[in-house]
């Protein structure tokens, strides 16, 4: 099963089991079923709980927040995650504030889905990964889709939080395989430790380097780890959390107890990154034990070009992750 299908099935499940859930977004109705076909079949089965909207990202999120405050639950599809910028006020100044600014906890079950990332040639305004712009907003949780985590459980958990959540969904990941039963391929296996998927070859505790990355980078991270192992005999473990913020560094510590080198990779552009936040938190605990500071991998401090060969230069690819691991592992 592909990741997109897993997510589509998860949405169907949520709508089947919870009559209070609404979905709002642009072009989400059948037969179109959303720009990335994630919402296929929902409008046919669930009628006006699935609502096609005008091109009004701010008001879409505002309406969803109003539904949530009134006792229902809302999922929003932002067609391209880039457009979440149009809803920044509703997300940051209203939905996230409302859960605490009235002096008591207020339930606001709201999931804002953001198809994100490049490698598709869509150019500067349709290829971004805007996670970092939403890091550190009180009352706002950030999640990312992963091929290791079942989307059904993820959606149910996010709605149960009762606070606004952004769900980042890598657009290329949609087309990849959803992993099941702990086996990735002939080389890698994985298990889930709490929220974190742990990918390893044989012994997850015996690794030269730990690579931490959101789900969207999975394929590139696996490609890097494969080459590192086969060509450089560096044994790496990949950790994929679904919750990016608030980031539970303490929960990660048992998985890092023998780590000597750590690398954090993400798709956003350089400067004020999610990885920097993770590194800061890990340094508090691991400083003095690591051979060198946590190494960050992110896209360049440039816009994402449309032409494929130029886009590759800016975005994070397997080679960039490989080189970062080689550096932090002391090989180069």
């Amino acid at each position: 099963m592909r990741v997109a299908e897993n997510l589509n099935r998860a949405l169907h499940h949520v709508f089947e089991t919870d009559p209070d859930v609404h979905l709002l977004g642009e072009d989400i109705l059948d037969p179109y079923g959303g720009a990335f076909k994630i919402t296929k079949g929902l409008s046919t089965r669930f009628g006006d709980r699935v609502r096609a909207t005008p091109l009004s990202e701010g008001a879409i999120v505002g309406v969803a927040a109003g539904l949530a405050l009134a006792g229902e639950k809302a999922i929003v599809e932002i067609m391209f995650g880039d457009f979440a910028a149009l809803a920044f006020d509703q997300i940051v100044n209203f939905a996230s504030k409302s859960v605490s600014m009235y002096g008591r906890p207020v339930r606001l079950p709201l999931v804002i889905r953001c198809p994100s990332g490049g490698h598709r040639g869509y150019g500067p305004t349709h290829s971004q990964s805007l996670q970092k712009h939403f890091v550190g907003v009180p009352g706002l949780s950030l999640f990312e889709l992963s091929p290791f985590h079942d989307a059904q459980r993820l959606l149910v958990d996010m709605l149960a939080l009762g606070e606004p959540c952004l769900l980042f969904e890598d657009k290329v990941l949609y087309t990849r395989q959803q992993f099941e039963d702990g086996r990735i391929d002939e080389l890698f296996q994985y298990d889930l430790v709490g929220d974190v998927a742990r990918v390893y070859v044989e012994d997850p505790d015996d690794a030269d380097c730990v690579l931490i990355a959101p789900g969207g980078l999975t394929q590139r991270a696996l490609e890097a780890l494969r080459e590192l192992l086969i060509r450089y005999e560096i044994n790496g473990v990949l950790l994929v959390p679904t919750r990016l913020y608030p980031f539970d560094a303490e929960a990660l510590l048992p998985l890092l107890k023998r780590a000597k080198a750590i690398c954090v990779a993400e798709d956003g552009s350089a400067g004020g990154t999610w990885g920097a936040e993770v590194a800061t938190r890990l340094h508090e605990h691991l400083w003095g034990r690591l051979r060198r500071p946590v190494k960050l991998v992110h896209a360049a401090d440039r816009v994402v070009p449309a032409a494929a060969h130029l886009e590759r230069e800016v975005l994070v690819g397997a080679a960039k992750i490989r080189d970062a691991v080689l550096e932090v592992a002391g090989v180069r």
Binding site: P54, G58, A65, G66, N93, R104
Partner: protein
């Protein structure tokens, strides 16, 4: 004839707002506040047209809206002063209040889409109820207003948009910030619009009763525009208007009109409102500072 209850509420809001400016002047209040002096009659007139099951979305100038819904001047003052008994534990302050189905928030235009969402819920689950949202003339500069009106009309939502058009956005006169008319804007979305210049609560209710009934019965939005007048500053001590402009605003004040019509009743009720506000102000000022809410700022 206006009922004692309405007169008393009008006077309570007037004296409450004046007291806030006085407390600010004495350095006893922090932050900022936006009084509704001159506009008190709007929530008072709307009061019997709304029920506790309707949502009310208020804005930065919301003390009158709150006091017309809840007989709780002490809770509101405590919120503004950060004292015990604060309706939102002192976290929200003057312009961020949530109580039952009353919600205010401080960013212009932001609440209109949220109100549309609440109206969508009501239409599906609680037909016959409405979401009322207060905005000003300045709010029409925000794109969120237009996005929400489009959806409200498209989806036939029971949304009552109350525009308190006081002719000035903070310090900027309407003619410097608003092209066209509010009526024209409503018409562009196919939304019914009613403008009133009255400051008489009975006349306003007579004008609006049937229209508001249609918002409920037919589930459709309505824009009601009050041509109103801000007597006081935008917040505190920041009134840069010419004396002649302020005088013209005072000519529309409901107070002298009601007092001329009902001198004995107004004076008696005014004395009661003044005494109540004085007593509450003394009482709240002596309360301990609010402790704050765990996990809520």
């Amino acid at each position: 004839m206006i009922a004692d209850e309405d007169l008393a509420l009008l006077l309570l809001i007037r004296r409450f707002e004046e007291k806030l400016l006085e407390l600010f002047g004495q350095g006893l209040l922090d932050g900022t506040t936006h009084t509704c002096l001159g506009q008190e009659y709007i929530p008072v007139a709307l009061r019997p047209l709304l029920t506790g099951d309707d949502f009310v979305f208020s804005n930065h100038r919301g003390h009158g809206h709150y006091l017309a819904r809840f007989a709780d001047p002490a809770g509101l003052l405590a919120e503004i002063m950060g004292r015990e008994g604060a309706v939102c534990e002192g976290v929200g302050g003057s312009q961020h209040i949530l109580r039952e189905r009353f919600l205010s928030t401080g960013v212009q235009g932001e609440s209109l889409p949220v109100a549309a969402g609440a109206a969508l819920h009501l239409k599906r689950r609680e037909p016959g109820r409405l979401a009322c949202v207060h905005i000003g003339d300045g709010t029409w500069g925000e794109g969120a207003v237009y996005e929400a009106l489009n959806m409200a009309s498209l989806w036939e939502l029971p949304l009552l948009v109350v525009v308190e058009h006081n002719g000035i956005a903070q310090s900027t006169p309407t003619e410097l910030q608003l092209a066209g008319t509010i009526a024209g804007r409503a018409a562009a979305f196919g939304i019914a619009h009613h403008r009133t210049e009255s400051t008489d609560v009975e006349d306003i209710r007579a004008e609006l009763g049937e229209l508001v009934g249609r918002v409920r019965g037919e589930s459709r939005p309505l824009v009601v525009e009050f041509a109103t007048h801000r007597l006081g500053p935008h917040s505190k001590g920041d009134d840069t208007r010419a004396e002649s402009v302020v005088r013209a605003a005072r000519d529309h004040d409901w107070y002298p009109r009601y007092r001329a019509a009902h001198p004995n009743r107004v004076d008696l009720l005014d004395a009661g409102a003044t005494e109540l506000v004085e007593r509450i102000a003394r009482d709240v000022a002596e309360r301990p500072l609010v402790k704050g809410a765990p996990g809520c700022g």
